[in-house]
């Protein structure tokens, strides 16, 4: 469902030029759970952002469901992202002014669903994440683990095909980290494709395979278990 072809990303800031990604070719199949690892600054987040259509590659091609999307315009990318891709970040990225319910509801608002349907869907996902009792609370009033569960709820509420998680456990203690990983596995078992960046080899074990990045290159790929779906793009 996802394929990159010689993906390249160069950042230009005053005078310095950083090549964050250099000819990256990866291939993620539908229903797969892929982990990306590598030292800090090797381009993991950059790759994830480009896959997630939050950023443009400098060069190369990107296919999503067989469609070339690297050259998409802002509006096209927003439309493709909506309802198809969910994001989870290390720093949760919840909106402080909105309560738990409203935070989770947001993607549905931009999908222009009716208030009733939004309420039902949010309610369902909150129960699944065991945060329904916190619906009226604000992010500042929650623990880190709870906040990350809210972020997950928001990422999945629109039933995306793909979830991109950038160090989702980075800010959590080991107990909460394990909980999040179980959540991810569950989501994957329910059919969602997942690409996750992590520093923890233990957490990478949850994935079907791990892609190792170094200095903008894919260096190795390691398979943990058979991918559940066979799909050729």
């Amino acid at each position: 469902m996802l394929k990159t072809n010689n993906l390249q990303k160069v950042f230009r800031t005053e005078e310095v030029e950083t090549t964050a990604l250099n000819n990256v070719n990866i291939h993620v199949q539908k229903g797969e759970f892929v982990a990306i690892m590598g030292p800090s600054g090797c381009g993991k987040s950059t790759l994830l952002n480009i896959i997630g259509l939050l950023d443009n590659p400098s060069n190369g091609e990107l296919f999503f469901d067989g469609q070339e999307i690297a050259s998409f315009k802002e509006r096209q990318r927003t439309n493709l992202r909506k309802g198809n891709i969910g994001f989870v970040f290390q720093s949760f990225n919840l909106i402080d002014e909105l309560n738990v319910f409203e935070n989770i509801e947001m993607p549905l608002v931009y999908l222009k669903l009716s208030a009733k349907e939004r309420r039902e869907r949010v309610q369902r996902v909150m129960e699944r994440m065991q945060i329904a009792h916190r619906a009226k609370h604000f992010p500042q009033q929650l623990s880190g683990g709870q906040q990350q569960r809210v972020a997950f709820a928001r990422a999945v509420v629109a039933n995306p095909k793909l979830i991109l998680a950038d160090e989702p456990t980075g800010n959590l203690d080991s107990k909460n980290g394990a909980e999040v990983m179980n959540l991810l596995r569950q989501l994957n078992e329910d059919g969602t494709t997942i690409v996750m960046v992590t520093h923890s080899a233990e957490h990478a074990e949850y994935a079907h395979r791990t892609i190792n990045l170094f200095d903008g290159h894919v260096v190795t790929e390691k398979i943990h278990k058979e991918s559940p779906v066979e799909e050729i793009i």
């Binding site: 997630g52 939050l54 927003t78 909506k82 402080d96 931009y110 999908l111 500042q140």
Partner: protein, 772 residues
């Protein structure tokens, strides 16, 4: 101080534009303050200013109103008979047409006053040559301004030199030449005075304006009572009934006197109040901007203040740190506004018809006023800092666990800013509409008529002039006249008896020859009008409809006008003869043979040709006087020039107000979108489009504009209705003016905030998330 400087630099962009806005506000406040102070102090520099009064008397032509006039001998009678009157001084403006020095003649038209011998002792104008009690000893003494003395005599001493003045006598405009000996020179520019003159000559007595000086401790009311009690003995203009004299304080002359010559300047006091109100509003708008900056600085520093306090600094030390920054901000703005004042002073003077010099700004009073503005700003800042400290977590050390920064948006103040702008937009539109209305209003006469003022020496030649003009195709009509609509008229009082009762009426008087009506394109409604074919028109007159209406039951056509021996030979439709602030009143046009004006109606299509022709014939007939030509249209614009300068004033203020409000909105929206950068990023990651983000960011501002409009519309309506009351003929205050003003404010506001929002909204969401 170094730290203060660094903090301000960190927030550079907002800080700079807000400082500019504050400087503009300070500039407006200082200029307006100085202006108002100076206006109210007009004529205050005279040594006896609080004891000098102008005499006014009942106006026999306009019952119920007063005029600044004293009959010959009135002031002298008061001094001779009432010990309360210490002294008096007569002042009369005369028209100097030309000045002859040696063999040179100057067409300066200097402002000339003829005054009592004690003028320079009575008032406190400064003489640079001559002694105040000697300069006006005889009727052929003259005192000149420094500038004229230098122009006429160069570096030679003017004292003892002989000059000749050619005066135009009122009301005939007959020219009389007289020799004078220069006995003194006075300083010009004259101090802050409502009398502005270039030449002073002496008069012993005569009808004139008169000033009297009361003895110490004599009350004005006491003196007025005395004058009323003795009114039978004091000479007065008689028009049937004996009038009374009143005293008008010297300081009020400038605001209440009706201007009669270029030697006097006057001002409508409401101008001063309007200027003051607008100055204060603009100042407030800029203070609001400034407070939002201050608020921003405080909020930014909240955490660091708490950390400082935890590490041992006192609340006072933190406040004093903040006040150092305030001092720097306000100080820089004051300096900046000093620069702006210097640059904008000529423009301001032009706008307000004022004459404030840079030197004047540096006088003690003005510096004091500027200091007050400075102190007011510091006090406001101090109070604001204290209140903010109290309401923040700095005092009880609570801010550390609050991650989120709250930015004050000052909704009430922002609404005030936008509302002020809307009111000013409404005012600008209304004044403009009234101006257009005045311009297009049919006056009942042809405004393209050109008026030539003939020097008295050439009165005999008027017919020749007329015939020469008429022989050309580009000239349609020429009429002789001595009193013409818009150019000036006289008031005539007619007495008659009806049913045994004495009655009177006072129409405006015009006079001209047989072609008067045709040239001016007046509309003859009834009667034959003046005879054009040589039959005598003696003792004939025309009247307007308004005059006819005074006698509803009479058919005046063919009859003698009541109280006069002139026969009415025609009735003309009402025409406008002065400004449109007044309704057209009764008017009479008398037939006369002798004139001092020529009215020329030229073919509009051959306008340039006609004007060249007029100049050429003037040269032929009147060699030694420059062409004196004015079209009624030009004259009409001069009469209504005040409105033009008023719209300039309002438009400039409107512009400044909008500009400052937008600076405020811009910085608010800038801060708001900075604060919300992360939120915007998250929303975009979750599917919000650019438009959705922009509408989210600008949503709050529409509410402000709507609220401002609700406040502004009734205010604008109220003020502009009362302004229009000045005019007898008013345009209507259409609803579209209000809609347009509201829309304009809305569009400007939205553009201001959307511009900023667009930048934030179209930013890559990843950048926004990295920002935190």
């Amino acid at each position: 101080m170094k730290r203060a400087y660094r903090n301000i630099l960190n927030n550079r962009f907002s800080t700079i534009i807000i400082l500019i806005s504050l400087s503009v506000g300070i500039t407006c406040m200082c200029l307006v303050g100085v202006f108002v102070q100076r206006e109210l102090a007009t004529d205050g520099f005279h040594k006896y200013s609080d004891r000098i009064y102008a005499l006014s008397c009942d106006d026999p032509f306009a019952p119920g109103s007063r005029m600044y006039f004293a009959r010959e001998g009135a002031a002298r009678y008061m001094q001779d008979n009432f010990e309360q009157v210490e002294d008096y001084c007569l002042v009369k403006s005369t028209i100097t047409n030309r000045v002859f020095v040696d063999n040179n003649s100057f067409f300066d038209k200097p402002n000339t006053l003829s005054v009592s011998p004690n003028f320079f002792d009575f008032f406190s104008y400064q003489l640079v040559a001559g002694q105040s009690d000697k300069v006006l000893e005889t009727e052929n003494n003259v005192v000149l301004s420094e500038q004229l003395a230098e122009k006429y005599f160069g570096s030679a001493s003017p004292l003892g030199q002989v000059i000749e003045l050619e005066e135009l006598m009122r009301p005939t405009k007959e020219a009389v030449k007289k020799q004078y000996v220069v006995t003194g020179v006075f300083r010009k520019p004259l101090a802050n005075s409502h009398l502005q003159f270039d030449i002073i000559t002496m008069m012993e007595s005569g009808d004139s304006r008169a000033f009297i000086r009361l003895a110490r401790d004599v009350e004005r009311t006491e003196m007025e009572a005395l004058l009323a009690a003795n009114k039978e003995h004091i000479p007065v203009i008689h028009a049937g009934t004996q009038g009374t004299y009143y005293l008008e304080s010297l300081s009020s002359n400038y605001f209440t006197h009706q201007r009669h010559s270029d030697a006097e300047i006057t001002r409508d006091i409401t101008d001063v109040y309007i200027a003051l109100a607008i100055g204060i509003i603009i100042f407030l708008i800029s203070i609001i901007n400034y407070l939002s900056l201050l608020d921003n600085l405080l909020k930014m520093r909240e955490r660091s203040f708490v950390i400082r306090r935890i590490n041992g600094s006192s609340i006072g030390a933190n406040i004093s740190m903040m006040m150092q920054e305030v001092l720097l901000l306000v100080g820089v703005s004051m300096l900046l506004s000093g620069v702006i004042i210097t640059l904008s002073l000529p423009f301001f003077n032009q706008l307000m018809h004022a004459s404030i010099s840079l030197d004047f700004m540096l006088h003690l009073n003005q510096v004091a006023l500027v200091s007050i503005v400075f102190i007011v700003l510091l006090v406001i800042s101090f109070v604001y800092v204290i209140i903010s400290f109290k309401s923040s977590g700095i005092i009880n050390l609570q801010a550390l666990d609050k991650k989120k920064r709250n930015y004050a948006q000052f909704p009430v103040f922002r609404v005030f800013q936008i509302a002020s702008s809307i009111v000013l937009i409404i005012a600008s539109f209304t004044i403009l509409k009234q101006l257009v209305y005045l311009n297009n209003k049919s006056l009942g006469l042809d405004k393209n008529v050109i008026v030539l003022t003939i020097p008295s020496k050439y009165y005999e030649q008027i017919d020749v002039f007329k015939q020469k003009l008429k022989s050309h195709a580009c000239i349609k009509h020429v009429a002789g006249a001595s009193s013409t609509p818009l150019m000036g008229h006289w008031m005539v009082k007619f007495h008659y008896s009806e049913g045994g009762k004495d009655k009177s009426y006072t129409p405006c008087g015009f006079s001209g020859d047989a072609e008067f009506v045709e040239t001016l394109d007046l509309n003859l409604l009834a009667g034959k009008g003046f005879n054009v074919d040589g039959i005598s028109n003696k003792e004939k007159c025309l009247i307007n409809e308004s005059l006819l209406k005074l006698f509803p039951n009479q058919d005046l056509l063919g009859e003698k006008l009541p109280g006069s021996d002139k026969e009415v030979v025609g009735i003309v439709k009402d025409f406008h003869y002065s400004n449109l602030m007044n309704f057209v009143g009764p008017a009479i046009i008398e037939y006369r043979d002798s004139h001092n004006h020529l009215l020329v109606k030229a073919d509009v299509r051959k306008w340039n040709e006609a004007n060249l022709l007029i100049s050429k014939i003037w040269q032929e007939v009147i060699h030694d006087y420059p062409l004196d030509k004015l079209s009624l249209n030009e004259r009409y614009n001069i009469i209504h020039a005040e409105n033009k300068s008023f719209i300039n004033l309002i438009a400039v203020c409107c512009f400044i107000s909008i500009f400052l409000s937008m600076i405020g909105l811009f910085t608010t929206s800038l801060q708001m979108s900075l604060v919300r950068t992360k939120e915007i990023g998250i929303r975009k990651v979750n599917g919000a489009t650019v438009m959705e983000v922009i509408s989210l960011l600008t949503k709050g501002y529409s509410k402000w504009v709507v609220a401002a409009f609700i406040v502004a519309a009734p205010l604008g309506y109220y003020y502009m209705t009362s302004w229009l009351q000045k005019f007898a003929y008013q345009t209507e205050l259409s609803w579209w003016i209000f809609i347009a003003a509201g829309m304009l404010a809305y569009i400007i506001t939205m553009l201001t905030v959307a511009w900023q929002s667009f930048k934030v909204a179209s930013q890559n969401p990843i950048k926004a998330l990295r920002y935190e």
